[in-house]
């Protein structure tokens, strides 16, 4: 447990540092999903940093592609590429594009960034897995604002129609999107009964920053027999950086040098 806690702390520090260095990026939704990615990559997923395209690996699709920093920091921590690369986030010629590029970054299973598409692609990956009688799982992380995209529901309908029990969607339910509170911009609520109505197995994690709770949910999702599973993770946008927490203003902006310093001090405390 201490290992996961230490790992996620390092990932958060890297997120803040790389976005600060790039002077642009999306810290809020990266920090809110840090435990989710840490648990998946360091405990739950079958992946091999020395063989990123291993055929039977579990797949992860960052449907909320703007949270690229948390994916990059996690992959670097796991050893898919050197951590030093994180300094090049969003720089010309870097493998670390503003949104993930599967052809540039070892360990990225799908290029994403345009919301709603990742879950649809993940459903296709899961269908391929079913066709080939594979045991691997497909994980897709969605934002709660992303649920406003119609394609999410086209994919949700197809995933239950094809009984894609190898598909596990996680919703980073931090309640904020770039223009403000999701319930004010365009409420996606109720999220759980929507997915239920679409034929999904639904699990709610009350504290999406609690590894035990997340683990219980993911392990239950893996056992689903004939339905795709969605895990709705209640999280805090900007988690662990006091001035970013629950602040939509930190959806998509880079902290300045002073703010980076303060954030790192908080994360080290």
């Amino acid at each position: 447990m201490a290992f996961l806690e230490e790992t996620v702390r390092g990932i958060r520090k890297d997120i803040v540092k790389m976005i600060g260095k790039a002077a642009s990026g999306h810290p809020g939704g990266s920090l809110s999903s840090a435990e989710i990615l840490t648990l998946l990559y360091f405990e739950q997923m079958n992946v091999d940093e020395n063989n990123p395209r291993k055929e039977d690996r579990d797949r992860f699709v960052l449907s909320k592609g703007h949270a690229a920093p948390v994916l990059y920091a996690t992959l670097a921590a796991k050893g898919f590429f050197p951590r030093a690369e994180l300094e090049n986030l969003r720089q010309l010629g870097s493998i670390l594009q503003g949104h993930p590029d599967m052809n540039k970054v070892p360990g990225v299973d799908m290029s994403t960034g345009s919301l709603g598409q990742g879950i649809s692609v993940a459903a296709g990956m899961a269908l391929a897995g079913k066709m080939d009688n594979k045991d691997h799982k497909i994980y897709a992380l969605l934002g709660d604002g992303e649920l406003q995209e119609g394609l999410v529901w086209e994919a949700a309908m197809a995933a239950s129609h094809y009984q894609l029990n190898n598909l596990i969607a996680l919703v980073d339910n931090n309640n904020l999107q770039i223009d403000g509170a999701i319930c004010e911009v365009m409420s996606p609520f109720p999220i759980d009964s929507k997915f239920e109505a679409f034929g999904w197995n639904v699990i709610t994690v009350e504290d999406g920053h609690d590894f035990d709770e997340l683990r219980t949910a993911v392990e239950a999702a893996k056992k689903s027999e004939d339905k795709p599973t969605v895990i709705i993770c209640k999280t805090v946008k900007g988690k662990c950086v006091s001035f970013m927490e629950n602040n939509a203003g930190w959806h998509g902006k880079g902290p300045n040098a002073e703010e980076v310093k303060q954030a790192l001090a908080e994360l080290e405390a």
């Binding site: 590029d101 692609v121 459903a123 391929a128 394609l151 086209e154």
Partner: protein
């Protein structure tokens, strides 16, 4: 040679043969499998045919996902919904990551007929052509459709194949060779070159015969590969005949006419006349009167050819 067959019919039938040869081939449709003819494949190979319902965006997204796992999806619906509605999924989830998805869309152009302007795609070539990593193919007949499907299978990356609803004459025999990026010189002449694609290749041949009566010698170039386009063939046509006409069942904005104009202004500016839909939506009607109404007949090509020659 007198046989007629739609390119969509040829597509559906040939999918079965391709699917026998390659077990990774899968077919996706969006509730139009009877019209796109993928139901022929479904009958032969139900376990590799997926009808995703009326959800074109998801059609493209799931195809992308299947491609990441080594499948070779052929995604089909009408051109207006595939290239139009699902455009940005094709862009970001298929072309941007260069995934091996073959997008075969039927009911392109105004030859859709009675369904009218809402269903007649006159902009799909433009939309697909502008995408990096995309190959754009537009078959003239049933034989070329099969050859293009072979060519699409042979490359690892996205391909758009533009198919039609109406029966069109079979122009080529089984020995016909197709290569991506190469045009086919169907007729050699001296005064003007007609560059045609898709169902306009037949009228282009007819136009060349009509021009001959007026002592005009016309070349006919079949531009089945719209992207990559055969720059050498266009340059040769410009040098050898000094005037060009393009003919396409598509808007004159962004399609074959634009593609040829781009090449000409780069390598050999000569007069060019574009036969196509003139920045208008289509409408309901039978195919032949529609083609007449929108200026897509052999006679229109003849008039354009004479105009191009005058401008030399």
């Amino acid at each position: 040679m007198a046989d007629k067959k739609s390119t969509r019919q040829a597509y559906g039938e040939y999918l079965v043969k391709l699917g026998e040869k390659n077990q990774n081939l899968v077919v996706l449709d969006a509730d139009l499998s009877g019209a796109t003819k993928t139901n022929i494949f479904k009958k032969a190979c139900p376990e590799r045919h997926f009808n995703v319902g009326i959800a074109e965006a998801n059609l493209m997204g799931m195809s992308a996902g299947l491609a990441t796992a080594g499948k070779i999806p052929f995604a089909s619906t009408f051109a207006i919904f595939g290239a139009g509605r699902a455009y940005e999924i094709i862009r970001n989830s298929i072309c941007y990551p260069k995934l091996n998805v073959k997008i075969a869309l039927t009911h392109s152009g105004i030859s859709v007929g009675e369904d009218g302007g809402s269903h007649q795609s006159i902009e799909d070539i433009a939309l697909m052509r502008v995408l990096p990593n995309m190959t754009v193919l537009s078959p003239a007949d049933a034989v070329e459709t099969e050859k293009m499907m072979d060519a699409a299978m042979a490359i690892d990356g996205p391909v758009y194949i533009r198919l039609g609803r109406s029966d069109v004459p079979v122009l080529f025999n089984e020995d016909y060779q197709f290569e991506i990026g190469k045009a086919g010189l169907l007729k050699s002449g001296e005064d003007v070159t007609i560059v045609a694609t898709g169902m306009m290749v037949g009228p282009a041949m007819e136009a060349a015969d009509l021009l001959k009566i007026d002592a005009v010698s016309a070349s006919v170039l079949n531009m089945g590969s719209i992207k990559p386009i055969d720059v050498t063939a266009i340059k040769d046509a410009a040098v050898n005949t000094g005037a060009l006409v393009t003919a396409e069942e598509h808007s004159i904005i962004g399609g074959l006419g634009s593609a040829v104009a781009e090449v000409l202004c780069d390598v050999a500016p000569v007069p060019l006349e574009r036969v196509g839909v003139k920045d208008l939506f289509g409408q309901s009607g039978k195919v032949a009167p529609l083609m007449e109404k929108y200026g897509l007949t052999a006679k229109d090509i003849v008039a354009a050819a004479k105009k191009a020659i005058q401008r030399k």
